[in-house]
Amino acid sequence: MKKSLILLVVFLCLAAVASAETKFSMELWNRWTYHMTDGEVDQNEMNLSRGYFRIEPVFTPNIKGRFNLDFFSDEGMSNGAGIKLKYAYLDFSNILWEDANLTVGLMKTYFGTIYDWEYVTIEKDPSDKYKFVASTDYGLGISGYLPQGFGTYAFAAYNGEGYKKTGEHLNTAMNFCADVRLTPMAGLTVGGSYYMMNKNNDKIDDVDNPDRIEYNMMAGVARITLIPNVDIWAQYLTRETDKPHMDDYEAVTDQAISIIPIISLQEFTGKDLELVFRYDMYDNNTDVDNDVAGSGAYNTTIAGVNYYMMRDEKNSPKLWLQVNYSMKDKLDEDADDSSSIEAQLRWKFSENL
């Protein structure tokens, strides 16, 4: 911990000295969770879910960086708090070609809506929640904008195992991701992502070796903002897992569908309020009936309110309250359903040096 703090101070000094302008910011999520399974309360807890400390140096108009530490409540640590590195990347823009960014380091994953996710619900982005991909990973990516605002594209190579694993915990295979979004007209965005992930396939020739695993993941994304004050996100995720040691079949496919309408009430109430709904359907194996015993398929319904109490000059939230009620409905009729109420106060502040 002491070494981490020293490294942090050194990085701060270097970033502040070397850059033309450096933004320091902190964002904290104070959360209360009341969770019930089959009518029995099994969690009633307040904690610090996230404590992001960010440094964003601007070295030149075309070279920008982002460094992000995540502090959080963690009963496993002796002092009750954990820390992890969440982002550490440099963006080189307009170097390869116009409107293109070359990103190097611990960066966001360009898969589905995980890159766009601003936690409109307290629950994670679907591809993060259903563990399709990690939200950030070590890699190198090229992203950019199509001419005349027609959309975006991104290609990246990653370790493929998220931000928590490094060194000997990593396999040697690189993984690849591509994402394209098209906005043919204002208010309508459609797109998709493809992620090819494999583990050890490059160093194990024996195709029957159980350590060889291959995942092929795809995401289809749509965003509709054609109706004033209404923002609708929809996503379809599918993953084929190919493990040679599986007995009955060669591949398992799981999939998720998520629909999220967000309704701004500001024009009617005068308050910066949003209603948020979310309906997720997750099927852990498309070859097995969802209502049989042992099925891991479930649906999640979330209804929530976001109350933005303060925003910055660019309209980004600075202080806001989120309240969510969620129901998890397991399709295996013998399995227990669960529900939860969560309230979260998020607040952030920043300073440019």
Binding site: E21, N62, G149, G151, I227, P261, F268, A303
Partner: protein, 271 residues
Amino acid sequence: MRKIIIILAVLALAVFPAFAGRNANSLTIAGSTTVLPIAQSCAEAYMNANPDADISVRGGGSSVGIANIIAGTVDIGDASRHAKTKEIVQAKSNGVNLYENIVANDAIAIIVNSSNPVNALTLAQITSIYNGSITNWKDLGGPSMPIVVISRDVSSGTYEVFSTIVMGGNASTDSALMLASNNAVATTVKDTPGAIGYVGIGYLSSDVKGVSVDGVTASKKTVLNKTYPIARTLHMYTNGRPRGMAKNFIDFVLSPEGQRLVEENGFIGLQ
């Protein structure tokens, strides 16, 4: 049945907001500090002529103006630069069509302290000052005095235009003082004998001295005939073609009376 009720409730709530509308007599404007004096004086004149109108104007910078149009929190976003592709994509994704209304011409004037005898610089010399290659006025025909480099903050449109035209997209020297507004730059240059800065031509005053660039002085004539090298257009962005009161206001800015106010504030009209 429960799912059907939930879906119907969501649909009802989704359609209901579509009928909301803003107050037809009020207008909010935010953005570029360069465009700010134009917006303010035109808003005053417009409200004098239309007593029912209520126009609120604030600065923040070009990025703020465009971000607020994308978020739908203002009716007009002022910007002293063109919208970036990133902003156009964000806007379209949010259901907003960024529409650029050009309202004035501007030159970015290079200013020095009134006591500084240097009257003329080349574009190459300005680049060398701002990248830190030239650090003393004696190398430019002036007195032996360190150059104090004053720049705008990186989020300002004036910085973007200066950075593109003068610096070729490269960074200013690390020793440059980054200030948040045209006024702050002009005041600091006025109070610092060795200072050099850049401001929209509307901020030129007798407190500071404007220097010529490549032998051309910033003026209406040199901007309109495109001989002054650090020139740009000023914009008021709207969501789609302006309608209602936003249209009436922009029509006023573009009218002979509005363009007179543009020039009264030291900027250059469109004609």
